[in-house]
Symmetry: C2
Subunit: 173 residues, 2 copies
DNA sequence: ACAATTTACCTTAGTACTGAGATACTTAGT
DNA sequence: ACTAAGTATCTCAGTACTAAGGTAAATTGT
């Protein structure tokens, strides 16, 4: 039964890992934990969403419109984590399924806004509470207090990291 | 200059958002903060890595082998967040670039292990410390104490969520 | 009024994967 | 030895995007 134990007699040679200064080690450990946690919860989310034949990106748009109401596509793009081409692609697919409508803006003919159809609204009214429960279950390893604390820390982390993205390093290099 | 302000006279109608029980609202807020934070830091990581013409997945494998030494491909697959086909694909590309070698296992001819070439090791020796600094910068909105706390919470969250994935809901539907 | 710029959205080509199934080998049982 | 089952890896078709560039409409400056 120990199938790979036998093989390990021929396993690659041992190896010494380099070490890093405390600041770097701390940052890396946080980054790894952050990615692993996100991935695990994302799998819960995706599994729940997939039951309805929708991808995460599609659900993001549906959910946004369900909660915030009809919205111009450029505003949609700012709020979800996909590119502008991605919004077009996702909205196309949702329109094909009859969950979403594109409507023209009268005062600006470049602009369109997206709105849920009755069918889309009905779907989300049914699906979203279940989804919320699935997410709440997924994060329930943390107590309510810990969840609040984690949210505060993550918000600070996320906003800080985002702010550091824009300003290009000028000067040396 | 307020370009979209004009348009908002024709904007979609206001809308009432549904509300949810506290437990769900808390979980969703945490999930959003988690995803946003991960995305922002991931952009720092990707930007740093891209300077060397490598993707995140490729870097993950290189970094793993750099720190842990040669390893069987199935072990690699367990440690990075990609599928088995993905590992093959990524390793192929790294081999093509001369950064990695596939070696046969003598006692089990099904198995192969991957090892950095001298060139790969040299690349990572140069690149990884910079990368560690980039990540440390990206998360530096949190104090060292906050980073530790966040790491602990995220680890608990991630492991808990992962543990809840396996057990399939048996029974109805 | 007219060119230049900006903004909004879409199209196209390409990328980095995933998932299912195929292949090749090993192990266990008879 | 032969069969069955298990494991390690690869192949290939398909997916969900991204990035760059294009078109149309609005805005600005002259």
């Amino acid at each position: 039964m120990p199938s790979s134990a036998k093989r390990s007699t021929a396993a690659p040679p041992a190896h010494e890992s380099p070490t890093y200064p405390e600041r770097e080690a701390r940052g890396l450990a946080l980054w790894v934990a952050l990615t692993r946690a996100q991935d695990s919860v994302a799998q819960h989310s995706a599994a729940d969403i997939a039951r309805h034949g929708i991808t995460g990106g599609e659900f993001g748009i549906l959910e946004l419109l369900y909660h915030k109401g009809p919205m111009f596509l450029n505003e949609v793009q700012k709020r979800v984590l996909v590119s502008s081409g991605g919004v077009t692609y996702l909205v196309d697919r949702l329109v094909e399924r009859g969950l979403l409508e594109r409507r023209l803006c009268q005062s600006d003919r470049r602009a369109r806004y997206a709105a849920l159809t009755r069918k889309g609204r009905a779907l989300l009214r049914q699906v979203f509470p279940e989804h919320a429960r699935a997410i709440a279950d997924a994060v329930s390893a943390l107590t309510p207090e810990e969840q609040k604390q984690a949210r505060i820390l993550l918000r600070k982390l996320g906003l800080g990291a985002k702010a550091r993205l824009g300003p290009r390093p000028v000067g040396d290099e």
